[in-house]
Structures are given as C-alpha cells and as structure tokens.
Amino acid sequence: MARRLTVVLSQAQGKHPVKRALEESVVAALLMEPGLDVSVIPYLYDLGPDHTGRMFLESIKGDMVIVSWLFPRAAFWVLDRDGIKGQWGESQLKSAHADDDEDAGEPAPPKGIGALDVPERHIYCLDLRDYNQHDPYVNEIRRIAEECKQRREQKQAQRPPAMVQLGINLLNGDTAEAPAKTFAPDQLLQTAGRRWYPVIDYSRCTNCMECIDFCLFGVYGVDGQERILVENQDNCKKGCPACSRVCPEQAIMFPDYKSPAIAGAPVGAIGNLKIDLTRLFGGADKDPLAQAVEERDRELVADGRTAVGTTVGLAKRQDKAAPKVKDDLDNLMDQLDAMDL
C-alpha cells in the first residue's frame, strides 16, 4: 500500500524572476522523485474561499508538505484558518544563515488554546527563503516522505488485525484518502488578488480577547465555542498590524508585514533577515501599544471616523496594576472560596 505524499508549492506574489527560478527548479526536481504528488498554487495567503487552489488543498486528506515564501508558522496557521488542518510536521530544514546558537534553552511549553478538530495527518511547511537552491528542499521532502511512511506503518502495526470476509469490500478510513477530484494546473494557478488579514497561531493564543476589543473594524469574532476567530478577514485594513502589537502572546501574524516577528518568524530565529536596530539607535522608542494606537487611529481617520487614541479597547492588564494590600472584604471573599459552599 504505497501511499503518496502530496507536495504543494505556493508561488511568490508578483513575478520576481529569481523566486520564479527557484520555484521552477524545486518543482522540476520534485517531479523526478517517486512517491510524490506535486502541485503548484499561487501565494497561499491570498487564496480566497472560491479559489480552485484552495479547494484543491481542502481535498487533500493525507500528509502534506507546503513549500512557500511564508514563515512555516504563518503558512500552517493560514491553512488552519481555511479549515485545512493537521498536526504540525516538524521540518529539519534550517535556514542556511541561521545562527547555530538559536536554541538557547528549550521553548516554554505552549500555553495556547490550540486548534480544534485536528485530524491525524501531518502538515509540514517549508520556507523558500531559507535556501536559494533546490537540493535542501528535495532532501528534506525525501526525509519527510520516509517519516510519514514509518508513521503509517507504525500505526498499521498497532491496529488490531481486521477480519476480512470474502466478498465484502472492506471499507475503512483509507478510502477517504484517495484523491477526490482532479484539478487542472491552469485552474490551480488562477491569479489571486492580494489580501491582508491577521492569522492567529492557536498554539500561542490564550483566548484573552484583547484583539477583539482593540480592533474597531470588525475583523475578529468568536466561533460557536467562544473561541477567538478572524471572522471577517477582508474587513482588515491593508498594512495595519496594530492588533498584532496588542496581543500579549504574539499570537497574531501578518505574513506580509515587513518585520519578521509580526510576519511569523519563530522567536529567536530570524534567519537571514537583519535585525532592525532603529529603536536602539535613537529612533522613536514607541512601545508596541502606542504604535498600535497610532496605526489604528490612522485607519479610523482614513475611514472618515474619529480617532479614539487610547480610550477604546485597551485592556487594563492585571499584572501591571500595583499589588494592593488585601482588606477585610478581600479576605472575606477568599474565605468564601475556601468554604466550598
């Protein structure tokens, strides 16, 4: 039962010749590999719900590799928002320029609320900005294909043996993994208009709702289980990353924003992108909140609305409040908790 691994390459926006050349050489090399289904779609972040590329992604049920010009976190959570869910596939691809000392200490265990209804399949996201030739990508995809195969075999081995009755076509979960539909390559590559919207990393999001309070453009909403959701993506104001600065967990990404931290770079590893020292070197040392308020006011005014400054939607953070000495009422309330009424 040789299952094939789906590899989807998401092109860069525009027609940058160097980027196109890399994309083409990666695809050409992957087509020579056995056991892979390779497809090309436009820039993942721009795909609206009606785009064929997105429907194609939705039709993929098994393990998948996304190769794109996005930070892996950004690509993964864009897909999650589109309902294309899976387990995070850990890529061993490291940026060629990344410092070796990036792993100073293990990352803290995630305290985010996580994604819901995640199927067992894995989604691996590779960043095309990491290398400028195809070999590292091809090697990594080979490794991933092997990893997926071993995982499947392990699962198979753990499964109790099925009783096969003659004459009965054994329908198990695997049938769903057959390619449902075929999509013509030119349909997949239909141009997609540029979009701009926040993407939530639910492995970091704590559902604190600061973003929904802060954004005055109705971008955020909650789902049936009161979980924060980027509900009206296209209400978002192009170029404005204000909510991302307000988020206490840095869980909100704008994949097209110029600063890597907001675009979804892993913390501590900004790869070959340069650090912007402007703030250290005497540039306006605005704290993120002040910057966010300014950005929001700019968009409000551009919409013909009134700037609100810091008066609306800023959480009073508990941990910033000075600790107060407990008075009798506080003590009484604490005792009530302990009384187990």
Binding site: S244, R245, Q250, S259, P260, A261, I262, A265, P266, V267, G268, A269, I270, K274, I275, D276, L277, T278, R279, L280, F281, G282, G283, A284, P288
Partner: protein
Amino acid sequence: MQLRLGFTTYAVRLMQDVYFIDWEVSGGDAVALKQKVGHIETSKAMSDLFAPIAGTIVQFNGQVLNDPSAINVDMYGSGWLFEMTGADAETLSVQEYHAFLEAGWEKTQNMLKGHM
C-alpha cells in the same frame, strides 16, 4: 561647541561588519534632536540613524562613506561619522551610558530575539 560623533563599541558589536552607510542631510544643514539623518546596513543589522542633539552638521567623514571598515576597526578614531555644532548638555557621560545600557538590557534582548 563642535562635536565629533561616532558609534560606540557596543553599537558596533551589535551591528558587526558595516556594509553601507548613507546620509540624508548634508554638511551645513540644521538638524533637530532625533531627526533622521541617515541609514546603515551591516552584516547583522540595519538601522536608521538619528541626530543625538539639535544643531548644525559641519561635515561627514568621507573616508567612512567610501570604506566603512574603519567603523569596525577604529570606531573612536578614524571611524568617526560626522561633526556637528550644538550643545552637548543632554548627552550621557560614559558612566551614564553604561548604566543606560544596563537598564535596557532585558528589553534589548527581547528585541534581538524578535519579540516586539
């Protein structure tokens, strides 16, 4: 008072090899405190550059424009950036500068690690 300005060792350690430096104002221009005067790109970083005091730019170090390596090897000597006139009352002493770096170290680390 005429002052000659340049990077500190600390700044150079953060930036590492300077590739390129560019000025947006010319000798003789008046500049305001913290006005943006130029831009630098290095192997590790890039940054806008700002006037540390209000005053008038006298001249830029032309040698550094052509070959910025002096900034790395001799930042307190031939690697100076520009000269300007103005009052230096608002600038920090060496001890104050060290204390300033110390006080901001945690924030700096967060920034370098990519937090906002």
